[in-house]
Amino acid sequence: MKQLFRGGRRKVAAVMAIALVASLSQVAPTNAAEKPKAGGTLQVGIFDSFPGYCMADNLANSALMAGRTIYETWVEQRADGKIVPYVLSSVENSADFKSWKMTVRDGVQFHDGTPVNGDALVTNLQALRGALTLLGKAPSPGTAGGFTANIVDVVKVSTNTVQVNLYRPQVDFLETLYASGRFFVRAPSQILGGAKCSTTPIGTGPFKLVSTKLNELVVAKNPNYWREDANGTRLPYLDGITFTFLVETASRVSGLKSKSLDIAMFTSAGEVKQIRDLQKNKNVTVIESPEEYYPSIWLNNRIAPFNSKNARLAVSYAIDRVDYNKVRNRNYVSPAKSIVGPNNIMYNEKGFIQYDLKKAKEAAAAYKAETGKDLEFSFPYTAGSTESLANATQIQKYMTAAGIKMNLLPLTTAEIIQRAFPQQFQAMALLLMEGTGTAFIAPFVISDTSGGNQSHILRKTPRGALWHSQPVGVH
């Protein structure tokens, strides 16, 4: 085994001791004149709702922010993109990257008072990969079953240490374990709690559940939280936070201005004007994420018309990305030059189909020659959403210019989600891919996340037996 992030085995004990001390001394406010004050509550406006908290109930974006006050992750991502131990204290990998030995940090406990240990790690991993579902012990893993399909088995090797064996070598396995902040450390009592798994989140985080419903999550300070600040004050500082789903952008903006909200979150997908207005407001500070989120137009290669490469090329050539970015995004973000952005390890401009109206028309003509049909397809958008309709209409305009007929399909969000993952649409827009690594890229562009493992535990399991309709990272 190779020790990850550290020099070698002989240093482990010393480093672990230092790490334990460091865990109690991490806060270093940049402004020494402003000493952190304990107490108070915050009101936060968000743009996602709360479908639930079990493995298949994927919290999206701003709702994930809220969920992560209750939950932590086994590993965390540093600002430089590296994945490092968090609730874990150390990770080692074999030389061939097919075995990963993970040790849980001492002294961390769940909100229900039970300790975080090797058994809890095994329960979490077996739940994510669907092994507990097959045994009838836990609800569906949902999409996590696909994400973790490279895992062959999970073995507890000591009280706090677990070994994960993979089918294919995976240098970036910790990215999978992180899942862009989504693979929470859940208490076994939640995972094994039947229907309560969705309604009663039990984590290790700085806050614990007070109440939850579809449009609100209320959390209160966890008095037994494991981290302290540099002065020995136990974290967190706040007494509580209320996260409220406010679908209308204007409600979040007015909430900030009227002081009914302390914090609000926004997306560049349709909220650029409001973000820019807030940036001019001296009473608020606006911070932005990097451009590390890559919304895609998914062209269903399995069915007509996009089982034809000519059809896929025609649509790809027809989209004027520079114009779209100007009209719909007010140039707040960048037009795409690859299916992922420049910060991602898979970024490559080679082969990316850029706007070329002449080639779009030629490809559409080639499609007609190939099939005898005019190129035509349906494209869903969220009924009742002005922004969604405007985005779809803008794309429709490019298709019309290329002689392609694009029929707009108004559906509810629930209907879109229900039909998206069974891959029933001819084409659709959805943000799934994100980040600097490939844990949240590769599963969306490969056909077998098990790596071809014919004896994988879910190989013979019907999709419907494990699948819930909730998607990953949808908004």
Binding site: V27, R78, A79, Q170, P295, V333, S334, T438, D448, H456
Partner: protein, 97 residues
């Protein structure tokens, strides 16, 4: 198949797929990036899916909210200040006003 459930374009491209697994087995970061780039090129050449523009997220907070982004990770190093899942609230506090 469950293992392809996340691939909304529903395609099987053995060339790009094998390149991705090959990249995941490549220890050298520079070499790994090159293999991934070949996989991306293959997917793009076949127009399996496309992207129009990238996306980012923003979070606005009033002046009474303090400590945003100041709490480091437990073993040192900073978190990402802002992501699609916002900020970390562990070290956030509220001033008296």
């Amino acid at each position: 198949m469950l293992y392809g459930i996340l691939n909304l374009s529903a395609f099987t491209d053995t060339v790009s797929e094998e390149l991705i697994w090959q990249a995941k087995a490549t220890a050298n970061a520079a070499a790994r990036k090159k293999v991934y780039a070949r996989a991306t090129e293959q997917i793009q050449k076949e127009a399996r899916l496309t992207t129009i523009s990238y996306q980012k997220y923003a979070l606005a907070y009033r002046t009474n909210v303090k400590g945003v982004g100041e709490l480091g990770l437990v073993n040192g190093g900073a978190r990402k200040l802002m992501t699609n899942f916002g900020i970390d609230f562990t070290g956030v506090w509220k001033s008296g006003k």
